[in-house]
């Protein structure tokens, strides 16, 4: 019987070399061989993060779009939020970007200013643009050109635990924008509630943690102030209104009306403290409602509008959907973007994910939100008070850096003992550096 011949080291190396060479040749052949010509529908990729409710809504909209547009196929690429922008940035740099992606309004400027997005000008007309509230169309525009579509928005309102307010003797809470509390009235209520609470419990908290620091700007706008001047380059925060807003919000901490760990530098969010009854009231965004608040808050709760000072205001949460200029099928991408913000698609998405519409015809419409439609109607009204100029201030390309400065400086003011005047001056100088660096 023949024994199998032992393989010597040299023979093994020679055989390996030949095999590797053959593979290399095959690989070269593969790459140079003519590719089979594509036929069938054009495929466009849409990369987004999505909560469970959002993912269901996106899938439903993609199915409806593909049924209506047989020549286009949409590849819905859902990624975790934590990995979203590292991935997008790396793909943009590598020339391998998706045709479309979702981006917060406050981060959109960094992309639109770097000439990497699809200019939507050829695909939209004035009739299309007029369907949206001007503030949100402004949020996706840069230097007059639209770089996507305003998909949805979210904003902050004051949720309150009815039992805890009743126990403090607060029985009347405003339910219209016109009758909302003034700053002084709100502070008096907060103090009254705090007086009845045991140690370790607080009157309220605000949702300005970490990258949510920009939500503090509502107070600045309410005081009649601005972050930037009309040139969108020079800072306007170091003003009497700016100082007033900083001092007022600083007093939440000095008066111990909010937990100390709810400053801008902490990572504490209202959906943990409000259901646990650690706080009686929570300034919280609408998208928190379908999650822990709806499932864990086992007590009657309602919402009221943000308090007013010189005026009422709000914050710009929410996202646009943008196309990239690397898209091989820009027409198909533009078609899908327009479909995403059609009346039916936007209504479906907002109802399922508890978000707010950007279309004028949906603001006054009756939407069937899956969670607390009574409160969602109030959120819609709250979102309408933001002006286009306020939107422009938070969507400039340098806003990422400014947001970090807001986070650090407000944290120093709230829990670091930094004076309001130093805080305003520091934010002001950070704004100047950031806008100069991005110019």
């Amino acid at each position: 019987m023949n024994q199998p011949r032992a393989l010597s080291r040299r023979q093994f190396l020679a055989a390996s070399g030949l095999a590797a060479g053959a593979l290399g040749v095959a690989a070269c052949g593969g790459s140079s061989a003519p590719k089979s010509k594509k036929s069938g529908p054009a495929t466009v990729t849409f990369t987004t993060w999505a909560g469970a409710a959002e993912a269901t809504a996106f899938k439903q909209i993609v199915t409806a779009f593909e049924a209506a547009n047989k020549s286009i196929k949409v590849n819905l690429d859902i990624v975790p939020y934590a990995e979203m922008f590292q991935g997008i940035d790396a793909k943009l740099q590598a020339g391998d970007a998706p045709d479309m992606f979702r981006v917060t309004y406050t981060n959109l400027g960094i992309y639109s200013s770097k000439n990497v997005l699809l200019d939507m000008t050829p695909y939209v007309d004035s009739a299309f643009i007029s369907q949206f509230q001007p503030a949100y169309w402004s949020a996706i525009s840069f230097k007059g050109k639209p770089y996507g579509v305003p998909h949805q928005t979210d904003t902050t309102m004051l949720l309150y635990n009815k039992d805890m307010l009743d126990a403090a003797g607060v029985t009347s809470v405003p339910d219209t924008l016109a009758s909302t509390w003034t700053w002084e009235e709100f502070l008096a209520v907060a103090k009254k509630v705090q007086a009845k609470l045991p140690a370790g419990h607080y009157a309220f908290m605000y949702d300005w943690a970490q990258t949510g620091a920009f939500r503090w700007l509502s107070w600045l706008f309410e005081a009649g102030g601005n972050l930037l001047n009309a040139d969108l380059k020079t800072p306007a925060i170091n003003s009497p209104a700016g100082l007033k807003a900083i001092e007022f919000t600083q007093s939440f901490f000095t008066e111990q009306l909010v937990p100390k760990n709810t400053s801008t530098g902490n990572a504490t969010y209202p959906d943990s403290l409000f259901p646990a009854k650690t706080i009686a009231m929570a300034f919280a965004a609408d998208f928190l409602l379908p999650g822990d608040i709806a499932s864990a808050a086992k007590f009657p709760y309602a919402a009221t509008f943000q308090p007013r000072d010189v005026t009422v205001s709000s914050d710009l949460g929410g996202n646009g959907i943008v196309g990239t200029n690397q898209s091989k099928n820009p027409e198909a991408a533009a078609e899908f973007l327009k479909f995403l913000v059609s009346r039916q698609s936007q209504q479906t998405f907002c109802e399922q994910a508890c978000e707010l519409p950007t279309r004028k015809d949906l603001v006054d419409a009756t939407l069937n939100w899956t969670v607390r439609p009574d409160l969602m109607k109030m959120f819609v009204q709250q979102a309408t008070v933001l002006t286009p100029f306020q939107v422009e201030q938070v969507t400039i390309p340098a806003f990422g850096s400014i947001n970090t400065a807001l986070q650090n400086q407000l944290d120093a003011a709230f829990v670091g003992g930094q004076s309001a005047s130093t805080t305003a001056a520091n934010i002001s100088s950070a704004v100047s550096s950031a806008t100069a660096a991005s110019a």
């Binding site: 943009l92 937990p259 100390k260 990572a267 403290l273 970090t404």
Partner: protein, 333 residues
Amino acid sequence: MSSDLNGARPGGTTGSEALIASVPSAEPATAAGPKGMAGLAGRWWAISETLTAYSFLAPTIAFFAVFMFLPIGLGFWLSLENSSGFGVSTFVGLANYRAMIHDPIFWKTLGNTAIYTILTVPSSVLIGLAIALLLKDEFLRGRNIYRSFVYFPMVISGVATAIVGGWMFNENLGVADKFLAAVHLPTIHWQSSSFPAMMSLVVMTLWTRVGFNMVIYLAGLQNMDSSYLEAAAVDGAGPWRRFRRVTWPMLGPTTFFLVVMNVIYSFQVFDLVYVMTGGGPSNSTNMLGVYAYQQGFIENQQGYATAIGMALFVLVLAFTAIQWRVSRHRDLA
């Protein structure tokens, strides 16, 4: 792991030493043989052996070149640019490094990283050693269960550990303060005071890292020749003296390895801090790695973020080089 350490011991012969020793063996043949064919054959043999050595090393060299040296080189180049990570980048020379020197948050995060390293490395190494000494006894019943308990946190994802830590040390709802209140001790502001926030990170770090240190020390202890300890015992040395004079010096290479690894882990800490404290309060737990990430991916200053990364690289490299020299001198002494 332990066999690598033994290989590096003074007096041991490593694989590379053996390889080096084999190459000069061609020399005598060349020198002794007559000039001409024999000399040429010798030289050819030497060249062939060298080529063979490099051909064996080639995959490793290629791997390091592609996955280590090339990214470091490209990273250094990126640190000389003003780049958002996409779009057009502009060359700015050393501007990012100048900005870094004048950035108070960079210095604060560097200081925090050093404090965190000082608080975590000696404690985790010593606790790991103490547990290894306790659990090395082969007559201890259930020692594998105890060892598994200590090692278990090591296999949990860093992010999961950080989420658990975040809840435990939540100063409104967490068990840490609930426990303190239950035993009538004052509660601690784990999230809103600087030092307690740092300590909460240290506690979670020790929880995850002690198990690894224990396993490496156990390997070191099991490879130790017990005759030294027996000889010391015969000479009348007590338990402490046996540990201090025999066990501890013989574990020198293990300790060296663990200190270097732990310092690198501590300098590169990211997930725990990013998820558990977000660097707060007031940047008091912000570390170099987290700050680089914030600059690179939140502020889109990737050139500057890479400059911070290069600073981190140089610091870890310098520390390892110093530690290497100090350790070598000690072993030779």
